[in-house]
Symmetry: C3
Subunit: 138 residues, 3 copies
Amino acid sequence: MISQQEISVSTSGRGTYDLGNEIQRVVQASGIRTGLCHIFIRHTSASLMLCENADPSVMADLEAFMQRQVPDGDPIFTHTAEGPDDMPAHVRSILTQSDLNVPVTNGRCSLGTWQGIYLWEHRLAPHQRKITLTISGE
Amino acid sequence: MISQQEISVSTSGRGTYDLGNEIQRVVQASGIRTGLCHIFIRHTSASLMLCENADPSVMADLEAFMQRQVPDGDPIFTHTAEGPDDMPAHVRSILTQSDLNVPVTNGRCSLGTWQGIYLWEHRLAPHQRKITLTISGE
Amino acid sequence: MISQQEISVSTSGRGTYDLGNEIQRVVQASGIRTGLCHIFIRHTSASLMLCENADPSVMADLEAFMQRQVPDGDPIFTHTAEGPDDMPAHVRSILTQSDLNVPVTNGRCSLGTWQGIYLWEHRLAPHQRKITLTISGE
């Protein structure tokens, strides 16, 4: 069995957005009990990650780390026509994930206790982000 | 066909652990000849990687690189309640992989000659790590 | 349905190589209409990425970023027998992807408008790189 669906996420600019509830809903609706849920973001300046889900300071620290590693307006970059945060957004996407696979067990995404699934918007401005979910299994 | 199983890895603290033999054993037991083996770590302070499998100095150099990029006790981090190596462990996990897919060919994970599958424990203390394997194909 | 095939890419040394046309060709030949295309590189000094496909300055900036983060001949590295670009190539591979999954929709890899699939050769010398494609679905 295979089930494919697109979801849309409205971001209010740079930051992380928990996708867990929406993904669980789509997985449960698919009727698949054992298999994989594939999550694919159709953009190159926002990305996906599996990350600690309990303490918001983890997200703040990740953001601080990325801003130090890949500063907005870094003079090393020449691709600047779309703003000082555009090329850093591409680099951040490359350093994290554009696609994730999560096991489906007993009809649900089977994450570890402290794991959440997040969209990381890397652009400063709000964006509409499209994600394709493909659930396969039996 | 789909086959799902959890394995457990005891780490003795920070470092890399070769998962190849255990994964091959599970793939062969599944009876699947052509498909994919999905490897998912249910934690956010240990991760997975495909890496050079011949010279131990590669692992030592990777560790040195990560310690320079994401130093333990980095004053940039505020999430410090669980120790100076905890937030760096989350960042290292984000920069590497929480899930991998490897082709299954002729009933075995079909890696390149110099590729191995490793768990990278990022915490200093020993941990028990759970990994979900999902093998699908025919 | 599952279809597995190996393709080969000749690189002329460090740089990015667009895999899109060749992958689309294999996906269409598989006859699979809805599912996933898994792309796996059988090497540890070249990697894969999904990246902006329109402006070549993005690739130049990614290269500049990686050369600053992981400089060739970095004195931190001890694995130097194969040259000053070998250990940096392993690190760059770890920081990017060795495997990718892309949704297949209506018989084609369904990328975002600005997304391309690239091989990133990290070694300075030309190499022959082998990639295993596994297309599954219905």
